[in-house]
């Protein structure tokens, strides 16, 4: 893929009862939105392990969207609050790691809010398009290369210093 054609890839985790259903409603209502989001269904936003989010980034997602039921509305009473806690933790961690703020987003979208699915996805796609690719897989490769290069350099300098030591001893 060349730079010109690049458009963000967003992985979304939607809860079965509210946000996934809202996305279905958006479909039934024939709302049109950006085709950049790939939805993964979970029963509850509380199921979303922070590792899922990190794994999505590691595999090349440019953004991650989490959708759950509004406060008080969780099908499982309070899974959305558990999700919120993890989200806040993730936000802090991603910030420390140098991720831009817009890469991870949490939205409460009820089953009736097909319109909100459209708005959030369009907004997020637009924002991440501005941020540009995250490209973690490529970065991993670059880092690997850098580390290889560094290792090489260190080995070289070790060798030369050994040689000079040897020369000195002579």
């Amino acid at each position: 893929m060349n730079e010109k054609q690049w458009s963000p890839r967003i992985v979304a985790f939607f809860c079965n009862w509210c946000t996934y259903t809202a996305a279905d409603l958006a479909g039934v209502s024939r709302l049109k939105y950006a085709p950049n989001v790939r939805v993964i269904r979970v029963m509850c936003s509380g199921r979303i392990d922070p590792q899922f989010v990190m794994d999505a980034f590691a595999h090349g997602a440019d953004g991650v969207l989490i959708g759950g039921c509004h406060p008080f509305d969780c099908h499982y009473v309070e899974g959305n609050y558990k999700c919120l806690r993890r989200f806040k933790m993730l936000k802090r961690m991603l910030q420390e790691l140098g991720f831009e703020d817009g890469r991870l987003r949490l939205e409460w979208i009820s089953a009736a809010e097909g319109e909100k699915v459209k708005r959030v996805i369009n907004e997020m796609t637009e924002e991440i398009t501005k941020l540009g690719p995250l490209g973690l897989p490529e970065k991993f490769k670059d880092w690997d290369k850098e580390i290889d290069a560094l290792e090489h350099e260190v080995n070289n300098s070790l060798n030369t210093s050994k040689q000079s030591e040897a020369a000195y001893e002579h």
Partner: protein, 663 residues
């Protein structure tokens, strides 16, 4: 069915859904691409996968190609996952060796760019192919159903559903917030378009509810708590004190006669405040149950403790009990029908129509009571000063089809305005004007009713009324209310002087619909009415299994539609109960004991207290019967030792990898 060497053999099917999918997504190229992935043995596209030939194709392929995993890319799994699972089970494969890809609601219907939509479909399908490899063989659990139904709301919807279920031999608990069942319909005078009297058709049904051996009627009661799940709901009902023992009272009303208040002087709710009642009263003559109640806000004894209690002396059955407290009862039911109805629009919200400001501006519901023979005026149409109106204006769409208040059409106002026009003319002989935006009369014999009104000399003026004012311009307008309206057929602004204004108020969700929604774990549409699972194919179902909708709580509707829907909801509940059991999705969680470090992180997370900590083994334990399958514990377990069936870590990780694998 997995072949001897555990070799994965995946079958992939992509559906055209006629042109619903195929018009936007190049399904052939999706099938071709998925066919190149490892372990995919069969990859096909077909016109309608959910059709019999579509399902048979999968079944034949399972046998012929020894497939052990199936992926179907079509519509939402919420629609057809069950269909395909059943189909592959029939072919001898465990139904959970299946994954569905939503490329209709989440793709073809929401995107326009064919290339990008196809790319997305490929990515989603690839994720499912990756995921399905990790699927396990699972068993559904069959849980028996409690053969009883709770119906919330005793309007015509609740009444009809209750009688239908009770007649079929099901136990019904009918909970009504007001002292009597009957709802709005009990207040109506006549019903359109047949003009048969509402009481004549409703009260036999009400008394049937009251006396039916299979119906337990709890009036003046509210549901306060709902626990459990489809087939096994545990419901707590609060019974408000009426200060009269229901089982003892026979409705003789001697106590009402004996009340220290000799004359009724308190605003009567049933008559929309047009009439008066005593502190001890029966809401209306045909009230069901036929039991009096005492209003604690107006009763002298309950307010001050100082009263001769003449009512108690008058009651020879000792039914009056001033010490009554609210009580709570608990019932177990298999299904719940929510029929909580609507409220009428508060007309004072539109200040320019003068409701609450001008005496002779009434709401349609007030007029219903006024024209009723047993109403506060005995059926006479009277102005507040007791005189007879000579001209009456009925304003349509008050709180309907209005961007400032409610956008929706309330569906019944045109028809009930026509009915009231007829009744008002009949009762008062006055000139009656209808001010309408559009006349909406779709329904059996409705248009004919409108035609009839046109010949009865009722005036029709097309235009949304600008204001109702007492500011007069000519001598004829003196002492009258002037309706200012742009007559859009005549093309100029008119001023119509009338004596009485009737506001055809629209239908709104109940004020506490949000709390009720949460109580029953339902959803609301943007306007606040309860959301049905599917507008066409599941109009009485909600997103929570075993909870059904009937009547105007789902959206404005007239009596015929309400009764039809109540019947449908009753049939759904019956279906559930007669089946005898519910199959539970096996998405519960369990602990891998060998991995559990005993950190107890999960224990406090479970909202259902399904997780306990075994002090002997020092491991967490999940009670499968209590687990509802949210997966919150699995998402939190630091050692990855909690597994949620159907949503295992490995399944979701492979899905993540899959959606991102396609460049």
């Amino acid at each position: 069915m997995v072949s001897k060497n555990n070799e994965l053999r995946i079958g992939f099917y992509v559906c055209h859904c006629g042109s619903n999918i195929a018009a936007t997504i190049d399904v052939v190229s999706v099938a071709k691409y998925i066919g190149t992935l490892p372990n995919v043995v069969v990859s096909k596209d077909y016109k309608y996968m959910c059709s019999d030939p579509g399902q048979e194709m999968i079944q034949a392929d399972i046998k012929q190609h020894r497939l052990n995993r199936i992926v179907v890319a079509s519509c939402s799994p919420l629609l057809h996952e069950h269909t395909f699972r059943t189909a592959i089970e029939k072919a001898g494969l465990n139904p959970f060796y299946f994954q569905m890809v939503n490329i209709r609601e989440h793709d073809s219907w929401v995107h326009t760019d064919r290339f990008l939509a196809t790319e997305k479909a490929k990515a989603l399908a690839q994720a499912a192919v990756y995921r399905v490899a990790h699927h396990k063989s699972l068993e559904t659990k069959k849980v028996p159903i409690k053969p009883a139904v709770l119906i919330v709301g005793g309007g015509i919807a609740g009444i009809h559903a209750a009688l239908t279920l009770a007649e079929s031999g099901k136990k019904v608990y009918l909970v009504e917030r007001e002292p009597s069942i009957g709802g709005h319909m009990a207040k109506f005078d006549k019903t359109f378009p047949t003009l048969d009297c509402a009481a004549c058709i409703l009260t036999p049904k009400m008394s049937a509810v009251g006396s039916h051996p299979n119906i337990t009627l709890w009036s003046y009661s509210e549901v306060t708590k709902v626990d459990g799940y489809v087939g096994n709901y545990k419901v707590t009902v609060k019974r408000k004190p009426r200060y009269v023992v229901e089982d003892l009272c026979v409705g003789c009303m001697e106590c009402i006669k004996a009340c220290v208040f000799k004359e009724p002087k308190f605003s009567d709710e049933f008559n929309e405040g047009l009439g008066k009642r005593k502190p001890i009263y029966i809401p209306f003559p045909q009230a069901t149950p036929q039991v009096v109640l005492i209003d604690p806000n107006t009763c002298l004894n309950l307010r001050t403790g100082k009263c001769k209690k003449t009512c108690m002396q008058a009651c020879d059955r000792n039914a009056i009990d001033f010490n009554q407290k609210e009580t709570f009862v608990e019932v177990e039911v298999g299904a719940i029908i929510v029929a909580t109805g609507f409220k009428t629009f508060d007309a004072s919200r539109i200040a320019n129509y003068g409701y609450g400001r001008y005496d002779n501006v009434f709401t349609a519901l007030e007029i219903e009571r006024m024209v009723n023979a047993s109403g506060p005026t005995g059926g006479e149409v009277l102005l507040r000063d007791g005189s007879h109106p000579k001209a009456i204006g009925i304003i349509h769409c008050v709180g309907s089809r209005d961007n400032k208040t409610n956008k929706w059409c309330s569906r019944v106002c045109c028809m009930y305005s026509l009915k009231l026009a007829h009744l008002l003319k009949e009762h008062s002989g006055a000139e009656v004007y209808n001010f309408y935006i559009d006349m909406r009369t779709p329904g059996k014999n409705y248009e004919e009713f409108y035609d009839k009104l046109l010949t009865e000399g009722v005036h029709f003026i097309r235009g949304r009324v600008g204001e109702v004012t007492d500011w007069t311009m000519t001598p004829e307008e003196e002492g009258k209310l002037v309706i200012r309206v742009e007559d859009t057929l005549a093309g100029f602004v008119r001023r119509i002087p009338v004596d009485m204004v009737v506001l055809a108020t629209g239908l709104e969700p109940q004020a506490d619909s949000q709390e009720v929604r949460r109580l029953f774990n339902m959803s609301c549409g943007s306007e606040g009415f309860f959301l049905e699972r599917h507008p066409k194919l599941a109009p009485v179902n909600t997103f929570t299994d075993g909870i059904f909708l009937a009547g105007a709580c789902q959206g404005p509707k007239d009596i015929p539609d309400t009764v039809a829907q109540a019947g449908a909801a009753a049939a759904e509940a019956m279906l559930l109960i007669d089946k005898g059991y519910v199959e539970q999705e096996p998405n519960t969680a369990f602990v891998l004991e060998s991995e559990c470090s005993g950190c107890k992180s999960c224990v406090s997370l479970c909202p259902y207290n399904a997780i306990s900590f075994d002090e002997i083994t020092k491991k967490a334990k999940i009670n499968e019967a209590l687990c509802k399958g949210c997966g919150t514990c699995a998402g939190a377990c630091p050692s990855g030792s909690i597994v949620q069936n159907l949503f295992e870590d490995s399944e979701i990780f492979s899905e993540i990898k899959g959606v991102l694998a396609y460049e």
